[in-house]
């Protein structure tokens, strides 16, 4: 087992980068900032790979099952004998896998940014923020108790806020970072209440103890949590659903997804790291972390997870088909894929074969991180090349950017679920789990999977084919080594990661899950995927007006999807019109007129009264003396003649 220092260094190295670059990033370390950040990240990534390798192949497996290890734990705050907050690391298949994903993607983004962000005014600050984010995310996956995870949860929220708003002189970026922060904070309120409910009934914050107590029907804590009911559901269900709301906010699940497309205002590598590969899957991670509680104790809450997941997947896929900003297409695609992960968890059971959905979800998380990071970095490369996010400015780039073209194609094939690329295997498992768990969800997922292939290849054809390179050729070559190396490496992963027997390593109860590949089952999804690709090529391979004609014939649906089903407008209506007019304005009126009025009244009266009496303090000593004398005489008379 690696020493505690080895594990501790994984998050602490990026943190050191944050501190150093945060202080000196604008002055002494401005030039080497990128190399410093990347070197620290590389060290962290190597340590993470070493730890994960050791865990999976050496010390993690005891008696045929992967154990939850807590190599380090200390009491951080002790309020009383029963209430204390610990800080610790947890090492189990989930966190080991996440360590690899986060450090690897972060390393790729660090390398990519060396070229992409070159010449930025706040280059050092950018790397400092990347370090902060990586530290927070690693802290989140290593957290051994639910309170610690909340701390890091908020930290990733802050670093996401900082990075979305990186171009703070752009009003749209400022609005986007505010929106992201407010929406996720709103969801985090649910998370916090969920934490309080679960830990109140569980009597602990520690994951291991909490799960053990809340999944054992004979424990007093479990009975208390099940018997306490509120609005027709048990306290346990409420706790789980509230925790899921927090996860849904961070993971951009419907209807809390509105911040994710706007978050694309940040620099593209940031979108790849935070808003595609790592932070947005924190919600999935959270549900997976508490999965035994969801699966054993509150299947009702798990149904919520499943339906929200599949609805988000479907809505996002439909919207993605109509967007024209390539980063927004990718953002909706991310939301859709996370929806897949969520409903895979939702249809899963606990332990053994029933836990297929759990493994499938995390497998998809793993492969999705690779190909979605690749897609974003590829999109970044394209944007770097044509200086625009809009599809209409692109087309025919395949000869001008050969490396980007090939890697992007691999990623598109992976996400579309074409064998033998990574996405095929993970999506297959998800669909298999769905078909066993819930047929309705299975069919919705199947349609969404076809849509995925369609919108991804729409994106691909519009960027690299469609028309001949219409823009000026003076853009020169595609990026240098730092820009292309991560693309190639990620493309290799996106092509090959599917062959990892993932269920062997990550499963709901730690025992290896042998998933068998079922070629008959794969026919339908692959056929749908290929159909989606063919449809996309019919529409978009050459410039033509077929797509416009179809859009015109489906006018209502198309406009609704193009406008993201007016969910943003709905939010604005609720917040601006309803909440603002019915709550905000009356509250402001009461504040201004009644609360402030009372305070002002007291103040004004005091001033008026003091004006009345201030003449008494005239500064004339003899006047004081005469008043004093008069008082003494009056008192003397009183004492002598009346009170004697």
């Amino acid at each position: 087992m690696p020493s505690i220092a080895t594990i501790a260094l994984i998050p602490l190295l990026p943190f050191a980068g944050f501190v150093l670059l945060g202080i000196f990033g604008r002055t002494a370390l401005k030039k080497p900032a990128g190399y410093l950040g990347t070197a620290l990240m590389l060290a962290s990534c190597i340590l993470a790979l070493y730890t994960a390798y050791g865990y999976f192949f050496d010390f993690g497996k005891i008696h045929g099952a992967y154990q939850k290890l807590v190599p380090f734990q200390m009491t951080w705050l002790e309020f009383s004998k029963d209430v204390s907050i610990n800080i610790g690391f947890i090492l189990d298949p989930l966190s080991a896998m996440m360590l690899v994903v986060v450090t690897f993607i972060s390393l790729m983004v660090h390398i990519y940014s060396l070229s992409y962000m070159k010449g930025e005014e706040r280059f050092g600050t950018y790397y400092a923020f990347l370090g902060l984010f990586t530290f927070s995310m690693l802290g989140l996956v290593l957290s051994s108790n639910i309170f610690q995870i909340y701390i890091f949860w908020e930290l990733v929220g802050v670093s996401s806020f900082l990075l979305i708003g990186f171009y703070y002189d752009k009003p749209s970026a400022v609005a986007a970072c505010k929106k992201a922060f407010i929406v996720t904070r709103f969801a985090d309120l649910g998370f916090l209440i969920g934490i309080l409910v679960l830990s109140y009934y569980g009597g602990t914050l520690d994951f291991g103890t909490l799960i053990a107590r809340l999944t054992d029907p004979s424990s007093t804590q479990m009975q208390a949590a099940v018997n306490a009911s509120f609005l027709g559901a048990s306290a346990l269900t409420w706790g789980a659903v509230l925790v899921f709301i927090g996860g849904a906010g961070k993971s951009a699940m419907f209807p809390l997804h509105i911040w994710l497309p706007d978050a694309m205002e940040g620099p593209t590598p940031v979108s790849a790291l935070i808003h595609a590969a790592t932070m947005v899957v924190a919600g999935v991670y959270l549900v997976a972390r508490l999965f035994p509680v969801f699966a054993i104790s509150v299947p009702g809450a798990l149904h919520v997870v499943a339906y929200i997941g599949v609805v988000s997947a479907m809505i996002a896929a439909v919207i993605a088909c109509t967007q024209t900003d390539i980063k927004r297409v990718l953002a909706y695609s991310t939301m859709s894929q996370i929806g897949f992960m969520m409903f895979a968890l939702g249809v899963s059971g606990y332990g053994g074969e029933a836990g297929l959905g759990y493994s499938a979800s995390l497998f998809h998380l793993f492969t999705h991180a690779m190909f979605k990071a690749l897609l974003f970095l590829g999109a970044g490369s394209v944007i770097h090349f044509v200086h625009s996010n809009e599809m209409k400015d692109m087309g025919g780039l395949r000869k001008l950017m050969p490396v980007t073209h090939i890697t992007f194609l691999i990623a598109c094939l992976a996400i579309a679920g074409v064998p033998p690329f990574a996405g095929f295997f993970s999506k297959e498992e998800i669909l298999l789990a769905a078909s066993r768990g819930n047929t309705g969800i299975y069919y919705m997922a199947l349609i969404t999977s076809g849509l995925t292939a369609f919108y991804m290849f729409r994106l691909y054809f519009r960027i690299f084919w469609n028309k001949e390179a219409g823009h000026d050729a003076h853009h020169g070559k595609e990026g240098g080594f730092a820009l292309l190396f991560p693309l190639v490496l990620l493309a290799l992963c996106a092509a090959g990661a599917g062959f990892i027997p993932f269920g062997e390593y990550v499963s709901s109860d730690g025992t290896p899950l042998h998933s068998e590949f079922d070629p008959v089952f794969s026919i339908a999804p692959v056929a749908l995927g290929v159909a989606g690709i063919l449809l996309a090529s019919w529409f978009y391979l050459r410039a033509n007006d077929r797509a416009d004609r179809v859009a015109a014939s489906l006018k209502g649906l198309y406009t609704a999807a193009y406008n993201k089903f007016y969910i943003d407008e709905l939010y604005l209506f609720i917040t601006k019109k309803v909440l603002f007019n019915l709550v905000g304005r009356p509250a402001a009126w009461i504040d201004r007129n009644i609360v402030d009025g009372a305070v002002n009244l007291v103040g004004n009266e005091t001033v008026a009264f003091s004006k009345l009496i201030k003449k008494l303090q005239s500064g004339k000593v003899q006047q004081y003396a005469i008043v004093f004398l008069g008082g003494v005489l009056v008192l003397a008379v009183l004492f002598i003649y009346i009170w004697h």
Binding site: Q617, G619, V621, Q622
Partner: protein
């Protein structure tokens, strides 16, 4: 010659007291006002001595009080004169009507 009784002394003392009060209220010169305060203090001293002598001749409390008052009057005179000197330096006058800055 008739030895003065308590009433006579109290009469003197009261006269002294009101002379002091009159002086304090009417004089504009701070030194004169200070002198008036001394008159008031001395009338009080006289009272203490007289009551001690005529009412409790076997005790000495009144005497001690008088000694204290004299000591404090000396200290107070020192402080008052210091203030007056400073006032003179800043206002070039020791007229109380020119020292009316300390007000609202």
């Amino acid at each position: 010659m008739m030895e003065p009784g308590l009433y006579q002394i109290l009469f003197i003392s009261a006269a002294l007291f009101f002379t002091g009060v009159y002086g304090f209220l009417t004089r504009r010169n701070l030194i004169t006002m200070l002198m008036s305060v001394e008159l008031i203090l001395n009338s009080v001293n006289l009272n203490f001595i007289a009551f001690n002598k005529y009412l409790w001749p076997q005790k000495m409390d009144g005497l001690f009080f008088t000694l204290f008052v004299i000591a404090i009057a000396a200290a107070e005179a020192a402080v008052a004169i210091a203030i007056i000197i400073n006032l003179y330096r800043s206002h070039n006058s020791i007229d109380v009507e020119n020292a009316e800055d300390l007000k609202y």
